[in-house]
């Protein structure tokens, strides 16, 4: 029997039989999250306003996040042992734990809450406020992702984990926030200590000692996880864990190839739905995400063929740091003022230039460590700048919008350094934008718009394009044009 949420779930890519089959779980989840009939209209409008729902692939991706949300909310009720990791994290250990036992559920719940309670229901603020009231007060340069995680636990929306997997080698705030979960709920932590710093100019090389150290850290964290969770990591867990991550990366590469087209075939807000998925889900979210990507690839191939884009052909092309995880309006800003955005920094990392590890390692920990170090961003600012330089040619970029999050240890300083070096090395314009990518309460929308609009006009002037370019309206009959 149809219920109040059927239309919204259909909009988010659920098939009728999926809704029927999952009805009790959906209802239990929504009840726990405080989502009721009154929220459906807002959610419907919010999704249609911010996402290109003419694309079935986009709808499926929204659905992938919703399915991950249902799974995390109900994980404890369904007898799972729950492991949370932070974002960004070394996701390999989580994938291995997940691949080793069906009774273990591993995810980054903050990202799941952002992409669902934020991007779909526009109800993230009360969760952030709960985080602020419980150990992560506002105005103290504390990460909004951690506020979402703590807030979600405090409000009883997501369960208290059985284990926190804390990796500190990129973001050292995560491990401290996990301390808070331990202090409040007694959750044990498996730490993966890391080596954050490398010498300027070292990338793409890395010292073998770093692989050994980081590898040993990962291995000991896995051992600790085995003890705490009472499981055995299967001998083939590493291989099995790659079953979904490899196709995900392959699909992402195909999508990024399509994003090289002019006009760029889809808004970057849609690819944002993919940015965090491999770093947030080890289960249904990523499996459903792969299906959504395949549909999206097919749809975008059609768009590229007929020249349909999210912005006009010839628009200046910029790379942005990252899409906004909870408020897609912010992600749309550059496109709203006539800039094409084919890539984000995070996507360039997940699906960037192929990473080859020449050496084979004896342990999964070392294999993961070598991969993470070769991937670049966690090397430090120098590696990040080199990655961005690589993308300049591949994506034919005209500029960069580099976010600076005052409450993010990873990006607060590096973005200012990146502006200077990218301008010098590429000759392209770089806009440094102070913005919280996870919480839209902390910036002035008007001020952001002014900066991005001015930057767009600057780039247009450089390309000799007159102004007046505006985004193609997504409510137009794009679907009919490409026969979807």
């Amino acid at each position: 029997m149809a219920q109040y949420y059927d239309d919204l779930l259909t909009l988010c890519g659920f098939e009728p039989e999926e809704i029927e089959q999952e009805r009790p779980r959906i209802e239990k989840t929504f009840e726990r999250l405080g989502i009721g009939p009154d929220d459906m209209h807002t959610a419907d409008q919010w999704v249609r306003q911010n996402h290109d729902v003419t694309l079935q692939g986009v709808r499926k991706l929204l659905g992938a996040w919703l399915k991950e949300l249902i799974d995390v909310v109900l994980a404890k009720d369904e007898g799972k042992k729950i492991v949370y990791f932070g974002f960004p994290a070394i996701t390999g250990p989580g994938l291995m734990l997940s691949a080793s036992s069906e009774d273990v559920f591993v995810c980054a719940p903050d990202m799941v809450l952002d992409h669902t309670m934020g991007q779909i229901f526009n109800k993230l603020t009360p969760i952030l406020e709960a985080g602020e009231a419980n150990g992560l007060p506002p105005g103290h340069a504390l990460c909004s992702l951690w506020q979402a995680k703590i807030g979600g636990i405090v409000k009883g929306m997501i369960p208290v984990p059985d284990l926190a997997l804390a990796s500190s080698y990129s973001c050292d705030m995560g491990s401290k926030a996990d301390d808070l979960v331990t202090a409040q709920y007694g959750t044990p932590i498996a730490y993966i200590d890391g080596v954050m710093d490398s010498h300027w100019g070292e990338y793409p090389d890395y010292l073998p000692e770093r692989v050994q150290y980081l590898g040993a850290q990962i291995n000991q964290a896995l051992k600790r996880a085995e003890r705490i969770l009472g499981i055995q990591i299967a001998p083939d867990a590493w291989e099995r864990s790659q079953k979904y991550s490899r196709p995900f990366v392959n699909n992402l590469l195909r999508l990024l190839e399509l994003m090289r087209a002019d006009p760029v075939p889809v808004s970057i807000a849609e690819l944002e739905l993919l940015e965090a998925l491999p770093g947030s889900s080890t289960g249904r979210g990523i499996r459903e995400g792969i299906k959504g990507m395949e549909i999206l690839i097919h749809e975008l191939e059609k768009r590229v063929k007929v020249g349909i884009g999210a912005t006009q052909k010839g628009a200046p092309r910029v790379m942005i740091e990252v899409g906004h995880t909870s408020d897609p309006r912010v992600t749309h800003l550059p496109e709203d003022v006539g800039l094409a955005v084919p890539l984000t920094f995070i996507l360039s990392w997940v699906g960037g230039p192929a990473i080859k590890i020449e050496k084979t390692y004896a342990t999964p920990g070392e294999t993961m460590a070598a991969y993470e170090l070769a991937a670049g961003p966690f090397h430090g600012t120098d590696a990040m700048i080199k990655r961005l330089e690589m993308a300049t040619e591949v994506m034919k970029l005209d500029g960069f919008i580099k976010n600076s999050l005052y409450n993010c240890r990873v990006s607060a300083l590096s973005s200012h350094i990146a502006k200077k070096y990218l301008e010098e090395k590429t000759g392209l314009a770089v806009l440094s934008l102070e913005i919280d990518d996870f919480d839209s309460r902390t910036h002035s929308a008007v001020s952001l718009r002014t900066k991005v609009e001015t930057f767009a006009d600057m780039l247009k002037a450089r390309k000799g394009i007159s102004d007046g370019m505006r985004k193609v309206h997504k409510e137009q009959d794009l679907a009919k044009q490409v026969g979807i």
Partner: protein, 278 residues
Amino acid sequence: MRLETAIRVRDKREGMLVAGIDVGAATAKSIILGDGEILGYAISPTGHDVKFATNKVIKEALEKAGLSTSTNTLDYVVSTGYARESIDFADKTVTEIICHAKGANFVIPSARFIIDMGGQDSKAIEVDPQGNVTNFVMNDKCAAGTGRFLEVMAQVLEVGSISEMGPIALKSKKPCHISSTCTVFAETEVVVLRAEGKHRSDLIAGVHKAVASRVAVMASSLSFKPDAVFTGGVAKNVGVKKFLEEEIGMELLVPDEPQIIGALGAALFAQTEFIKQQ
């Protein structure tokens, strides 16, 4: 400077008539251009009702230009400032950064670097010889380098207005050091220093040095190059000008009426657009 000499009143409309309107956080500014000459301008507090403020300021400018106060008189209007998109009689919007660059280049064609300090934001802009923006920075969400900071301090130190503070600051022989980076905390710091018996002029000078330092740090990611122009309402304050010059090591040229430079830029865009349409 071309601004003052260009102003004259016309009895009736002749040829092309365009307007620029800049609705900022603190004040709304408008300017009327007739065949490339400034016919009149007005400045008025924005207040709580943006629509009322914009209507008022455009009417005042039209009146000063000796024209009918109906906006229908105007051939083309470009709006700028934070409320640029809420002005229903505007034909086009342009950001205030671009407008300040264009306006400053018009009054001082040799301008290559502009510092604009308004009510709630401050900007540093690099421009080419045509007045096009080539690089810029703008304050983020902190009020410490803006007019609002000075306004708060003017209240605490019981000085009538921001511009009145400037000459007092220049009398100081030993400016106080205000270390707080936050407007609210700086206010507390000033109150404490006042209680310690510091001279008012030294306190005011300290406040000016603090605000100048903030803006100079923000602007330092760009290249300071002459001629540098200082625009915005705060540019009327001689104290900020002096301390800012010390910070950036360069003379700042201030147009006759620095507060209307954004509106002037908008009017120049209106003129270009109208000519293009013709």
